[in-house]
Amino acid sequence: MLVLREPMRVALALITSMTSLGAVYGLMGVHFIAAFQVLIYVGAVMVFMVYVLMLLEVKEAPGSRRFSRYVLPGVIGGALLVAALGAGMLRGPASAGLLPGEGDQAFNLVEFSSTFLTQYWFVFELTTVFLVGAIVAALAVVNVSRRRQG
C-alpha cells in the first residue's frame, strides 16, 4: 500500500487486508464482529471508496512524484515507532496466557448484548448525537459546493 502508484490497487490491497482481518476475527471466535467487519468495511466503506475512485479518474501527470517531501523523516519516524513497539513487546511481562477464543473464555454474544444495553447504553445514545452532527456537516459541505457552482 505504501509504494503502489495506482489508487485502485491500494483500494484492492486494503479490501484484501480487511477481508483477511474478518477471517482472523472469525477464527478468534468473535463471529459477529467478523460479520460487521465484512459488511461495514468491505461492503460499505470500501465500495464507497472504489466508487469515488472510478468517479474521479483524475489523471496525474506521468512524471509526478508518489511521495511527499516528508518521506525521509516519515520512514525514520516509522522505524523508531516500530523499534519502540518491539522493545515494549519484548520487555513486557509474560502475559497471563489466555489464548483468544479458548474454552469458556470465548466470546459470549448474550453477555455482550446485555452488557452493551445495560452498561454502555449512554455511549450508544451519544453516537446518535455524533451521527446527527455528521449529517449536519455533510449538508454544510453540500451547501458549500452548491454556492460555489453559482
Partner: protein, 101 residues
C-alpha cells in the same frame, strides 16, 4: 514461540504503523484516507485481542463505536475530497497548500 495474542498484537501494531506511514509519506488524498482506515483496522484488532484475553465485553463495545466513527469519517471526508478535487483538479495534497489560514 510467540503466544498467539502477542502475535495478533504485533499484527495490529504493524497495521497501525503502515497506515501512519501511508498518511505521512503519500501525496494522494484518497490513498491517505485509505491508510487512515488501515490504522483504524489495526486499533480494532488490538481491541478485540485484549477483549478476548481479558474475557471482557468492553473491548467489543469499543470496536462497535469505532465502526460508527469510521463510517461517519468516510462519509464526511469523501465529499470534502470531492470539493477539493473540483477546486484544484488534482488529488495531490500539495496543491491544496493555499488552503492554510
Amino acid at each position: 514461540m510467540m503466544e498467539s495474542s502477542q502475535f495478533l498484537l504485533a499484527v495490529a501494531g504493524g497495521l497501525f504503523v503502515i497506515g501512519l506511514l501511508g498518511v505521512v509519506i503519500r501525496r494522494n488524498a484518497l490513498v491517505m484516507l485509505m491508510c487512515m482506515e488501515l490504522m483504524l483496522n489495526g486499533v480494532n484488532l488490538s481491541l478485540v485481542t485484549f477483549s478476548q484475553q481479558r474475557a471482557d465485553a468492553a473491548g467489543a463495545v469499543m470496536v462497535f463505536l469505532t465502526f460508527v466513527v469510521a463510517t461517519a469519517e468516510v462519509a464526511l471526508a469523501i465529499p470534502i475530497v470531492l470539493l477539493l478535487v473540483k477546486h484544484a483538479r488534482s488529488l495531490d495534497i500539495d496543491r491544496f497548500s493555499e488552503l492554510k489560514g
